[in-house]
Symmetry: C2
Subunit: 250 residues, 2 copies
């Protein structure tokens, strides 16, 4: 039942509970279960997924914890309105990109990066400890070592940005790392669909790194802004190309 999706996501999903959580969560994000809808009863769901009710309940409780649903006796489990969803939850971010509006989400996430990361870089430039700077520098070295558009490159890229967020010393800003992660994964998925056109973002990353090493807040802010803008226009270009190739979309 989940075979296709399982192949797409390499990491193991140990527990049955987890598989079901992701399946139902994705259904909600994909609009199979719409906001305001009442989910099938726990019994019906546990029948459908061939699991016991406790397992089903654990999954539903987790969905409720993320703000996706609201369970009440006699009423049932209702899908909450989108405004109530905790879009910054890592799982919800993942599921978002399985929905039909994935590109809309990408646009919004990019906008959020544009708000957060330049400022984070500026703060990091002022506060980063030597160890934190080292970690950012190592990530950059890793990016240089791996060819762009490879899985490994993405990992280092992510570490680079996450390292900056953590170097702000602000745990709340650091927690937005998941947002950046999903953005990078999306751009990777997209760019792997089209040949060539690697934007070569290394010089921009270097600018950010050197500014942070020099405790140059203003420079870090600007370099990061340029980096994100370029990355985003690269993605936009991809999408335009793809739309031109496939004129009959929807």
């Amino acid at each position: 039942m989940l075979s296709k999706r399982d192949r797409a996501r390499p990491f193991v999903r140990r527990s049955i509970h987890n598989q079901i959580l992701h399946e139902v969560g994705e259904r909600i994000l994909r609009g199979v279960f719409m906001p305001g809808d009442i989910l099938p009863s726990e019994n019906a769901l546990s029948d459908e997924f061939k699991v016991s009710r406790p397992v089903m309940r654990e999954a539903i409780k987790v969905l409720a914890a993320k703000g996706l649903v609201d369970a009440r006796p006699k009423i049932g489990t209702r899908v909450r309105l989108r405004e109530q969803w905790n879009m910054l939850d890592p799982d919800i971010l993942t599921w978002s990109f399985a929905s039909r509006e994935a590109e809309q989400y990408a646009i919004h996430i990019s906008e959020m990066r544009r708000v957060l990361e330049p400022e984070a870089a500026a703060i990091a430039a002022l506060r980063a400890t030597p160890e934190q700077i080292d970690r950012i520098a190592e990530s950059f070295a890793g990016m240089e070592a791996c060819p762009e558009d490879t899985q490994e490159h993405i990992v280092h890229d992510l570490r680079f940005h996450q390292g900056i967020l953590e170097a702000t010393g602000n745990p709340f800003i650091a927690s937005t790392g998941h947002v950046i992660e999903s953005a990078l994964l999306f751009s990777f998925k997209l760019s792997s669909q089209i040949e060539g056109a690697c934007s070569d973002s290394l010089p921009r990353h270097r600018d950010v790194l050197t500014a942070i090493q020099a405790s140059d807040a203003e420079g870090a802010r600007r370099a990061m802004a340029v980096l994100i803008d370029e990355a985003w226009s690269g993605i936009e270009e991809f999408m335009r190309k793809r739309d031109a190739a496939l004129p009959a979309r929807h």
Copy 2:
């Protein structure tokens, strides 16, 4: 067992499962269970709280969903490192302010507001629909109607800021509303401890509103920055006063 805390939090906690979730979550944030620690086994915990194991498990699963713990067979349920916690989760935000580092968290949250909200106001100034502007204006009217430092005033204040976040049209930015909420609740709790000194933030709010109504992005950005800075310096002043009054603080 939970009576003191129950009195402090007016809203009902329907299910036992929920009470336990909050109790254990708060213990983790308070450092009773430290990162790296293994929680007592499910059986031990369900005994302590006098609940069945399924209920205990549901609570633990929710904690795991928020990134606080990681359960594994034979190993147990380990408290994850703080960097792994999803600090933007509404519950974790709430529990944070029950910890001894509440004021540190407040500082960090304020910094995050300083990053997010001015930009959000600028975006909202460009994109807000008439209905969204109406909602912001109504919230402002509500703030004018209620005396500062009342529960009602806080509610309208929160709606004001949340309305701006939603008016960005960006669901991820809108989801940061919980961060602002916890900041407002904290400042309310703090200011209710000390008499007088209402900072009178109404004029600043009006500045933001009029800028948004005029689609003046730059004006909205600056007005919001001023608003947050003033609010924060008010809080700082409170804390200084209190520290002066209670010199023997650990």
